[in-house]
């Protein structure tokens, strides 16, 4: 979850987000090196008294500063492409969960066994308990077994929404009339928070997403309870 002073990415809770974090750090390292190098060159050029007698027609240095950035870009492009294809990979999922974006709440459907449907509304401030997070907690969380492949199918009923859990590296648009699929698995138990990420109207800021990740055995118990209701 995002708290105060979280300036960088959130802690990852899925293998994909782990890879994304590594890629972020790798790219940032290259960026810092380039910034320092260029900064140092500029400072040096500004603050010296030298006069360059052969300023023009420097073939060799031109070749070097054309080829070097190209090579640097390859070091960013190859891991980036690798990641893009890994993110698209669909492993055989264990359960399918459907998410439908509404103005302004999310509803969820588990229909692999029996038909389980529920809406997930934000808890308003006047009903909040002391342990609730303001603008982030919901009345019905999505319950998901950890270390299992989940297929998330996302659509919307009215306008475009976007379903996001940053610590799982998941963000996908909910488009009316279209079913979008994303698959992920969670490394550990816990609560994972996200918010609608596509401006969808007046209460866009007040339709958060909460995942409750539990062990598969407890998930079975939860499903059984939900079927009884």
């Amino acid at each position: 979850m995002l708290t105060w002073k979280t300036l960088l990415l959130q802690d990852s809770a899925s293998p994909l987000m782990e890879q994304l974090s590594f890629f972020h750090d790798h790219t940032l390292m290259i960026l810092v090196i380039i910034t320092v190098l260029v900064g140092q060159l500029m400072i040096m050029l500004f603050f010296n008294q030298f006069i360059h007698r052969y300023l023009l027609e420097g073939q060799i240095i031109e070749i070097i500063w054309t080829i070097l950035p190209a090579i640097t870009l390859i070091f960013i492009a190859i891991p980036s492409l690798r990641l893009i294809y890994i993110l698209d990979e669909i492993n055989n999922p264990m359960i399918t969960i459907k998410t439908i974006g509404h103005q302004w709440y999310w509803s969820y459907e588990y229909t692999d066994f029996k038909n389980i449907e529920f809406d997930s509304y934000m808890i308003p401030m006047n009903e909040m308990k002391n342990f609730n997070f303001r603008l982030l907690d919901v009345d019905n969380r999505i319950v998901i077994p950890y270390e299992s492949q989940i297929r998330m199918l996302i659509t919307a009923a009215d306008v475009i929404h976007s379903w996001t859990i940053p610590s799982l590296g998941v963000k996908i648009d909910a488009t009316p009339g279209r079913l979008n699929q994303i698959s992920f698995s969670i490394n550990r138990t816990g609560l994972f928070y996200g918010q609608c990420s596509e401006i969808c109207g007046a209460n866009h800021s007040f339709m958060p997403i909460v995942i409750e990740s539990i062990s598969p055995n407890y998930f079975i118990k939860w499903i059984s309870k939900m079927i009884e209701i």
């Binding site: 009923a157 079913l179 309870k225």
Partner: protein
């Protein structure tokens, strides 16, 4: 009912498999095709032909309930656009 629910086991967790016809993010067609296939299968083979149930399981897993309800209504009214 509670007895049946308690009998649910981890092995029972099964869902529609990956379908190589629909390898992309967009799964709209997987849902629609399974729905059409189920009803076409029932029309050809009759109501109690067990292999048809595969499509039923798939479209129940993939399709949002609202879509299925709307299509059921359209089939009843005879306005369903698909070829069943």
């Amino acid at each position: 009912m509670p007895l049946a629910a308690a009998a649910l086991k981890l092995e029972d967790l099964k869902t529609a498999p990956f379908d190589p016809r629909f390898p992309n993010t967009n799964q709209t067609r997987y849902c629609y095709q399974s729905y059409v296939d189920y009803h076409r299968c029932q029309k050809i083979r009759g109501q109690n032909y067990a292999p048809c149930d595969y499509f039923k399981k798939v479209f129940h897993s993939i399709c949002p309930n609202a879509w299925v309800e709307r299509w059921d209504q359209q089939r009843e009214d005879g306005t369903f656009p698909g070829n069943i």
